[in-house]
């Protein structure tokens, strides 16, 4: 694969040489945004390209997050990486310790731009920075929120979904028993993110040792000893009682919600664009529920992606990269992106601007994510999750949860097995990166 990419890259390189000399410096940005979000991203890049005449950013859609990651790995191994790449939050440790990146704060400062990194909203800043320095530029940050069908809740005699899981459960069972909808809720495709990881953060449950991995590579999962086990049991019960459905392959949970078939669903705040476009129902959204004995609930954590800068390019190209990153961090850009997509504004100033303009009066559900993310004081259970090989441990966990749903395992057994498998994967990452500190070489 690397060879093929190298060949194609070489071919394009040769073509570029015979082309006319360009006055503008061109840099590549590989990303994973498709659909409405992809259109907005292209608009963003166009805005930047029009705003000055020195640089051109070329945005290249490379498929989903996994495909982008694979693409950039192949390109890096073939020594033709793009200048910038959007990587999902789960790939943080892989990128940080890869030795293939330039930390953005170093780059931006070296090129003389003054981005106020202390102004980034807390969960975003703490997730994407290492030892107090920003490693990647936060770009599309999201968090799961609770979407619901207003009509269904009114018909069942409720104003809105309850704040606690216990009360919510009663509501969903009422909705189902009254025959108002076929299913109270639908299992999100990324339930591990919203209903296990974020659940742990909100309910102040430890997920792994060493502050969920923030304090070192020696971290181990511990969610088999927390409320996560009863959460899995709850989901299993809902499935068995027909209160929750699984959408399955080839069909998205979102479709079951927007078509009015299921009354609620948990999904990223970034689905605002799609839901506004597709839903024929009277929808709204609120905070994720919390356990009744946890008060107050803590903040949720972020997902989504950030822009990483790859090593191995010329100084003038890094000029272009720095200029673009500076543009992305501007409050104006952030406010526009927030409104256009539903992603969280990355900085406090951007949030303040959106508020001042009365944006949330017209779009109240867009503020939920920000409020939920900045609720309370983040502690080591809620700062975020920083595990090596995080995608791999997540897939193992997912498989174990599916075994519970299939009736093959009890929740406790499944979570014990998931933790055991996960810890083996973590040890492998630790072995590979033993004693490693992230690359801090200046561009």
């Amino acid at each position: 694969m690397g060879r093929k990419v190298a060949f194609i890259a070489a071919l394009f390189g040769a073509l570029a040489l015979v082309g006319p000399a360009q006055a503008r410096v061109e840099v590549q940005w590989w990303h994973a945004m498709s659909g409405v979000l992809g259109d907005r991203l292209n608009e963003l890049v166009e805005k930047f390209n029009k705003s000055q005449d020195k640089y051109t950013i070329v945005a290249v859609a490379k498929g989903n997050y996994d495909e982008v990651t694979n693409g950039v790995i192949a390109a890096y191994r073939a020594k033709r990486p793009p200048e910038m790449v959007q990587i999902a939050e789960r790939g943080y440790m892989t990128m940080l310790l890869s030795g293939a990146i330039v930390p953005v704060q170093d780059l931006v400062e070296q090129k003389g731009y003054k981005i106020d990194f202390s102004d980034f909203i807390k969960p975003v800043a703490s997730f994407w920075s290492y030892k107090g320095r920003m490693s990647a530029m936060p770009f599309n940050s999201s968090t799961p929120i609770f979407w619901y069908n207003k009509d269904h809740f009114q018909k069942a005699g409720f104003d809105k979904p309850a704040d606690t899981w216990q009360e919510l459960e009663k509501q969903l069972y009422t909705i189902k028993s009254k025959g108002i909808s076929e299913c109270g809720t639908v299992l999100p495709g990324d339930f591990y993110w919203s209903l296990l990881e974020n659940y742990s953060a909100i309910n102040n449950q430890p997920y792994g040792t060493l502050a969920n991995g923030f304090d070192g590579l020696g971290t181990e999962f511990v969610y088999n000893k927390t409320k996560v086990v009863s959460q899995v049991a709850r989901l299993k019960k809902w499935l068995d009682d027909g209160v929750m459905q699984i959408a399955g392959q080839g069909f998205s949970p979102e479709q079951l919600f927007t078509s009015g078939r299921c009354s609620t669903f948990v999904n990223s705040t970034a689905s605002h664009g799609n839901i506004e476009r597709n839903a024929t129902i009277n929808w709204s959204a609120t905070f994720l529920p919390h356990e009744s004995d946890i008060n107050p609930p803590l903040n949720s954590t972020i997902g989504g992606g950030a822009i990483w800068v790859m090593k191995g390019h010329t100084p003038e190209r890094y000029e272009a990269v720095a200029a673009f990153l500076d543009f992305v961090a501007q409050p104006e850009t952030q406010v526009w992106w927030h409104g256009a997509t539903g992603y969280v504004p990355a900085t406090n100033r951007a949030y303040a601007v959106a508020r001042e303009r009365g944006y949330y009066k017209d779009h109240p559900t867009r503020e939920i994510a920000v409020l939920q993310l900045s609720r309370g004081t983040p502690n080591e259970n809620s700062r975020g999750f920083r595990f090596g090989n995080f995608v791999q441990t997540m897939l193992a966990q997912r498989q174990e949860v599916e075994a519970v749903f299939a009736g093959q395992k009890q929740p406790q057994q499944a979570m014990d097995d998931a933790v055991k498998r996960g810890n083996e994967i973590l040890r492998q990452f630790e072995k590979l990166n033993a004693g490693k500190t992230p690359e801090t070489e200046r561009p």
Partner: protein
Amino acid sequence: MPAAVAGSSRRSGRRRPREEAGLKRANFGDSPGLPTLLLLPQLLILLFFFFIPSLRALMQSVLLSDPFGTNVQFVWFDNFKTLLASGDYRQSIAVTFWFTVAQNVLTLGSALVLAFATDRIVRGRSAYRTIILLPYAIAPAIAGILWAFLFNPAVGPLAQVLHGLGIAWDPNLNPTDALILVTLAASWKHICYDYIFLVVGLLAVPVSLMEAAAVDGAGPIRRFVSIALPMLGPTIFFLTVMNFIYGFFETFAIIDAVTKGGPAGATNILVYKVFVDGFVNLDLGSSAAQSVLLMSFALICTLLQFRYFDRKVNYGV
């Protein structure tokens, strides 16, 4: 595929040396230059797309490395040891075995029935054949989505029929249902492949034999089972080998579209696991070790088939 066809005919040739005696061997003269030159394109393709990747896979399978390749450790056979010790991998082997065998039986069985049926039809035979061949033109991923949709427990029309019959069909939850679904989808996609070979095979059955049997009072089914089927032996043998290879390597897109290996790893066949561990989990060492093992399984399977099954096949038509 063409190489395999050539392979089987070469084997049949070996048993009939009188044909080979007629071949001339000195067509190129004595210089090795021209033949080498003519072979070069194919050899280069083999080199770049088979030998070098295979070697790299072998190398990678004894390494622990981060995806970017900046940090590499030599770990001897740790990747293999971890794999063989993992319940996940053993489950994958079992699933692959059942999936491949079931798919093979189903595909070949249906193709035989269809070939027999269309062979009996006189009017509109080519129209029937075309219709049966159509699924081959559908991309595996599309075929997968189609089946996933038809049998989706929430919205699929066929799932509704099953629910109506009192069957609690749910491939999202039930591992057996999921395995049945991918087996059906994979077989459906491959029936036409087997079918076309069998149709051609049936054409080669001498009409005189069939007529003689008919005169002796053998019915169509008897004629098919006792005369046509044994004569199809070489074709069926070839198709069995091809079906195994299809099941091992080419059903990846269907699995990805229908179940993504789930639920609970119930449809996580070996080739899909190689993909997920390599391209999603970025665990390159394990993925390489798996592909080495998978290649060995396929090789052993094919060798066994040739060793034991080949003897029962009658090539002398």
